[in-house]
């Protein structure tokens, strides 16, 4: 899963927007964005933060510098420990040519000491979108971890994983249908890229248009495939 290969795969599938959301890290987002731009794809810089309660929250940002600032906060609040390559694999930082520039030795699989509301608040403070990841998954999904979505949590959208159909999700999580819903591959392997996707009716493939589409503003909307 190098930036180059991800972009090539996305291009071959005709995807217009992707987001790189590494666990607790943003170090591969800039290279991916540059490569994607050459293919006419918008690779939104993102991050998947693990809250203290082990809830996964995705943050999507309009620019790399906002994403990098949240990375700083996440790194400052990540539980101590070093990555174990046998248990969790290599955490590589890669350039455009698939060359490994270095390894991230932090325990990125670990949790931060930031509560889920703090994570959402921090993402918003940098103008980002806060999305509850794979709410249908028991492990690391907000409903699995907390039992419910706290009513005061101002999430911008809920993500449903590729393991469930929209209809089944609506049946199981109907009480949360007032949220914007989307689905994505959550690809952890190249073959997963684009397995499912969400369509948006909007003017351009930009972050700002995405924000409008999530809110259903001025004719923009989400089209769930």
């Amino acid at each position: 899963m190098t930036p180059y290969r991800i972009v090539e795969k996305a291009a071959s599938l005709g995807l217009n927007i992707i987001a790189i959301c590494d666990h607790n890290s943003v170090e591969n987002a800039e290279v991916t964005k540059r490569l994607a731009k050459k293919k006419g794809i918008n690779a939104i810089p993102g991050i998947e933060v693990t809250s203290f309660e082990e809830v996964h929250i995705v943050g999507l940002f309009s620019d790399i510098s906002s994403a990098l600032r949240i990375q700083d906060i996440v790194y400052d609040n990540l539980q101590p420990g070093e990555n174990d390559v046998d248990a969790f694999g290599y955490q590589v930082v890669v350039n455009e040519n698939d060359e490994v520039l270095g390894f991230n030795n932090r325990l990125l699989i670990g949790a931060t000491n930031l509560s889920v509301s703090k994570v959402v608040e921090t993402i918003h403070s940098f103008g980002g979108l806060a999305i509850a990841s794979h709410i249908d998954r028991e492990g690391f999904g907000i409903i699995g971890q907390l039992g419910f979505i706290p009513p005061e949590l101002s999430l911008d959208a809920l993500e449903i994983s590729r393991n469930i159909t929209i209809d089944n999700a609506k049946t199981r999580f109907g009480e949360y249908s007032h949220f914007p819903w989307l689905t994505s591959s959550d690809a952890h392997e190249l073959s997963d890229v684009g397995k499912v996707s969400t369509g948006f009716f909007m003017e351009h493939s930009t972050f700002d248009e995405l924000c409008l589409a999530l809110k259903g503003v001025e004719g923009r909307k989400i089209i769930l495939y």
């Binding site: 309660e53 082990e54 539980q79 174990d84 699989i109």
Partner: protein
């Protein structure tokens, strides 16, 4: 005590790595937050949890645990079973709750410190 003794005295159902029940159990810990387990569990412990996803195997390998006990008759995911067999991590299932199993293990003399 050996993992096999726990299996016998607590009627645990062995789901994986049955060849590794000779492992010595030197402690116990209860938690469903992986970050907490990574931070606090002692090597050789048996980990009591209701988490069934495959990351529990990675944690058990990382912390060199003797095994994992799933409570409330929880079924490990298919990926989890495969990974646990591959890594030689016994996953045992109990019909009891975490509270009950922990109490029984404590009675048998296991500690977490």
């Amino acid at each position: 005590m050996k993992l096999q003794e726990l299996v016998d005295s607590l009627s645990l159902v062995v789901k994986t790595a049955s060849a590794h029940l000779t492992k010595e159990v030197t402690g116990g810990y209860v938690s469903d937050l992986l970050s907490d387990v990574i931070a606090n569990i002692k090597e050789g412990s048996v980990w009591i949890t209701l988490q069934t996803h495959q990351n529990i195997v990675a944690v058990a390998t990382l912390k060199e645990l003797s095994g994992i006990i799933l409570v409330n008759n929880r079924t490990p995911d298919a990926d989890t079973l495969k990974k646990a067999d591959g890594e030689g991590i016994p996953i045992l299932v109990s019909s009891l709750s975490a509270f009950e199993i922990a109490g029984l293990l404590y009675n048998l003399g296991l500690r977490c410190r």
